[in-house]
């Protein structure tokens, strides 16, 4: 029995670790939260094992829940929710009617003891955001799903654990407790970076690493902070810079790696950098509106670039000052993720310089 959570650092090779540590003979199930992550895993597993091994499945959490916990057992809902027997045709990304709108009761809301709370019109599709809740509230379906999982898989890997929130996390927690061999991988400091759903279970309460670790131990998980503590991506220089500025300690795997960390203030240099596609630009927002290759901070999670140019918002203006400090935890995590995207140089430009220049061009 092996129930572990590996707390990893940015660029320490979470995906690489999972893909290279699984035994291709076993019946492995690899679950991740985002499609982006799934395609990374598929590539990595294919590289490591010369294609996806026969009994290994790689799937997003929501697809897995829909295909193995919900759809096969939909015939059980007719009795429970007093509705005709149906079979849904997939998952809806539409946001369902909430209970309250601006403090007032929403008349279009369906209570959670009706099938309409969980499904679109005529039970055509199940709401993505309420899928986990549906399973959590139906014990017999949960148990069916668990015995299905146990029949077809022996080893479970769950990537990017910090992305699971609220009912998704509740369901994942219930699942973990039923399984024998499960390895979870996540980076505490990368939680709340993706945009929506920035608070909530499990991080609302467990908002420090210490509390989070205690909480995981209570779930029966061994917390492993060593295996993936060192960044394979970032150089020594970048790690040092990030450790000091974010107070999140990150060390390089390769101590002799070199690159520069520098503030860009020269306009000529900035022009050249913006033209250079080998240098990825990371903007807080509106990256898609730029004429050069750029990505938003929040979307860069999991990515690796040869070199990056970070456009620094005015709130972080004083990053090169010695007494620089970030008060908000979420802002800190976002900065941490952004700065650690590079395997080479980390270049930073202040927002006002960037803007001034950009406006001139336009």
């Amino acid at each position: 029995m092996d129930k572990r959570i590996i707390l990893a650092k940015a660029g320490s090779g979470k995906t690489y670790y999972i893909c290279n540590n699984l035994n291709p003979i076993n019946k492995n199930l690899i679950i991740a939260y985002t499609n982006q992550n799934i395609s990374n895993i598929v590539n990595e597993v294919s590289k490591a094992h010369d294609g996806i091994p026969n009994h290994t499945e790689i799937i997003t959490f929501h697809s897995f829940i829909y295909r193995n916990f919900i759809r096969p057992y939909e015939l059980l809902f007719s009795e429970k929710y007093n509705c005709p027997v149906f079979r849904s045709k997939g998952v809806s990304f539409v946001v369902p009617e909430p209970a309250m709108i601006k403090g007032k009761f929403n008349s279009k809301y369906h209570k959670n003891n009706t099938i309409k709370h969980y499904y679109t019109y005529n039970c055509e599709q199940v709401f993505l955001s309420r899928m986990s809740d549906l399973v959590v509230k139906n014990k017999e379906i949960f148990l069916h799903g668990i015995s299905y999982m146990k029949k077809f898989f022996d080893y479970f890997y769950i990537d990017e654990v910090q992305d699971f929130r609220e009912s998704d996390w509740k369901l994942l927690e219930m699942i973990i407790q039923e399984l024998d061999n499960v390895v979870l991988v996540g980076d505490f400091y990368q939680h709340s970076v993706s945009g929506d759903n920035n608070s909530g279970i499990p991080f609302r309460v467990n908002n420090t690493l210490k509390k989070y670790k205690e909480y995981l131990t209570k779930l029966g998980l061994t917390v492993d902070e060593l295996t993936l503590s060192k960044s394979r991506r970032c150089t020594k220089k970048v790690c040092e810079f990030v450790s000091i500025k974010t107070k999140i300690n990150i060390e390089p795997f390769n101590m002799s790696s070199t690159s520069e960390v520098r503030e860009i203030s020269d306009r000529e240099e900035l022009i050249n950098l913006l033209k250079d596609d080998l240098v990825m630009k990371l903007l807080l927002r509106n990256s898609h509106k730029q004429y050069f290759k750029a990505i938003n901070w929040g979307n860069s999670k999991g990515d690796t670039y040869d070199a990056i140019l970070v456009v620094l918002p005015s709130t972080h203006k004083k990053i090169f000052d010695e007494d620089f400090e970030i008060s908000s935890e979420i802002s800190r995590n976002k900065l941490y993720v952004t700065l650690t995207r590079t395997r080479g140089d980390l270049l930073i430009v202040q927002d006002e310089i960037f803007k001034e220049f950009n406006e001139k061009i336009l």
Partner: protein, 529 residues
């Protein structure tokens, strides 16, 4: 290895509601012509190969159970519309390719608790069509075009033929249209083995033909018209055949063709294959049939095999445990038979076993003499009825001097009414053994003379018909008739024992009234009950 564990067939052809469980390896379906042997195979074909997926729905008229149709006609309502359900449970391993997709609670009549592997086929008018078909139903018409044919795995996913966890190859030898059946077979085998490659090659194939054709540089027809290839006819699988030594197998003579066909499918590499062979005896000579049985036994060790047959050579050539006897809406199996008994019948090479299984009731007799005279006596006793034996479904079968006990074991499993006519061999022990047997059995009884004086059939017969025998049996006054080296006092009896069959023939040919020994009279009376 994967196999079909059981089938539930509802409303399909002759089956109102039929359930059958199958053996892992070989299954031999025996039964009357119209019992539904091929219907089971057809049902599996529909389930696994989606036979009627793209057919005109009017074909359903031929598939619905006639009772279901009649029920609808007398009482037309949405609820009474005929429907077909075929639910097949598979045995698969959790490591088998795609097996995951087949496991769940969505089987017919599900308890909503137990998960199994399998496919569910349903052909019915869905509830949301209820309003649309109301008018048609009122006219007592079955709304064929409103029917949906639905194949789902037990996991409640649409069944995808490209993700088969188990494949099914039916080989139909009963079809006399040689060309079509071979053609159909080649196509099917080709698709089965190479469907994935097919999709890749299909486009290339068309492009290649188009190119070669345009290389002919034909002059244009008037206006914008020109000759081109009809893509509707460019279907690769339709022009695929199987070559044996570069000769199309359909050109190689029927018997051989069967052998090759059977061989081919049995050789197929896929792990979870189910193979059905319908009446392999139809087109094979005796020697080739034996060869084929040998092939099947050696090559099908790890495959599920379904054979339908009328030929008991097949039945006893393979293991008797595998025999499933199909009759209208019921089935009986012999898989509870002791290995020893099964072996006994496997070695037997005659039709008796199949006759025994197929008959409604059986009179088992000791040997050829009785087999000759008992039917005659039965008809005589029941002369008021025409062809009394046949109308009662009674077959008289000879054990050829061997033990009737093995037959009784089968009779017991099949719950078949069997009367045994046997000699008591002058043994009191044997008589009391028979009495004990009869006291504890109701479906089969053993009949023998109650006195040890009448130790054998001829004795009883002579005793009942002294005058007639005296007149018919002529002996040489000075001749000595020895039985086992001992000269009998009763020379006529000795002659009878030495010329059993001839005397029987004489008796029958004389057309004289023969008085039937008491125990045989009782037998006749009991078997008719």
């Amino acid at each position: 290895m994967g196999y079909i564990k059981n089938l539930r067939i509802i409303g399909f052809k002759r089956f109102t509601d039929f359930y059958i469980s199958l053996n892992e390896n070989t299954n031999i379906f025996v039964g009357d012509n119209e019992a539904g042997k091929s219907t089971i195979i057809e049902a599996i074909d529909i389930l696994v190969n989606k036979t009627y997926e793209n057919f005109d729905k009017y074909i359903l008229g031929e598939l619905f159970n006639s009772n279901a149709v009649a029920k609808f006609k007398t009482n037309p309502s949405f609820e009474n519309l005929p429907r077909i359900v075929i639910s097949g449970e598979f045995e698969l391993k959790n490591t088998d390719r795609y097996s995951k997709d087949y496991y769940g609670i969505n089987w017919y009549g599900s308890d909503k608790i137990t998960s199994k592997y399998g496919i569910l086929f349903e052909c019915q008018v869905e509830n949301d069509m209820k309003v649309d078909v109301a008018d048609i139903i009122r006219k007592k018409i079955i709304p064929f075009e409103y029917y949906t044919l639905k194949w789902d795995t037990f996991k409640n996913e649409p069944y995808n033929k490209l993700k088969k966890a188990l494949s099914f190859v039916p080989i139909d030898a009963s079809n006399n249209n040689s060309f079509n059946s071979v053609d159909f077979y080649s196509k099917r085998l080709f698709l089965k083995k190479h469907e994935e490659k097919m999709t890749i090659v299909k486009t290339d194939f068309r492009t290649f033909l188009d190119e070669s054709f345009s290389n002919l540089k034909l002059e244009l027809l008037e206006g914008s018209k020109k000759f081109g290839l009809n893509h509707k006819k460019l279907i690769l699988e339709n022009i695929v055949g199987i070559l044996d030594d570069e000769i199309l197998i359909e050109n190689r003579g029927k018997g051989l063709e069967k052998m090759i066909k059977t061989d081919l499918s049995i050789e197929s590499k896929s792990e979870n294959d189910v193979i059905a062979i319908e009446e392999p005896e139809n087109h094979l000579s005796h020697t080739n049939l034996r060869k084929m049985i040998h092939n099947i036994q050696t090559k099908c060790a790890d495959k599920q095999l379904i054979i339908t047959t009328h030929n008991s050579l097949i039945v006893s050539g393979l293991s008797l445990k595998n025999v499933i006897w199909i009759s209208e809406n019921t089935k009986k199996t012999l898989d509870n038979l002791e290995p020893d008994d099964s072996d006994y019948f496997m070695k037997l090479e005659n039709d008796n076993l199949l006759r025994f299984i197929l008959a409604n009731k059986v009179i088992l007799v000791e040997g050829a003499t009785e087999q000759l005279i008992v039917p005659y006596l039965f008809e005589m006793e029941n002369s008021s009825e025409k062809r009394a034996l046949e109308s009662e479904g009674i077959d008289v079968i000879s054990c050829n001097g061997l033990s009737y006990k093995r037959y009784l074991k089968i009779a017991d499993i099949l719950n078949k009414k069997v009367a045994v006519m046997t000699d008591n061999d002058g043994s009191d022990d044997k008589i009391s053994e028979i009495v004990t047997y009869n006291n504890s059995n109701t479906t089969s009884k053993i009949f023998t003379p109650s006195s040890i004086e009448e130790h054998t059939w001829e004795v009883s017969l002579k005793k009942e018909n002294e005058l007639l025998i005296d007149e018919l049996v002529k002996i040489q006054p000075n001749a000595k008739y020895k039985i086992n080296g001992i000269e009998l006092e009763d020379k006529k009896l000795a002659f009878m024992l030495l010329n059993k069959v001839d005397v029987s023939m004489q008796l029958i040919n004389s057309q004289k009234k023969i008085s039937i020994p008491n125990y045989l009279k009782e037998l006749f009376k009991w078997i008719k009950e």
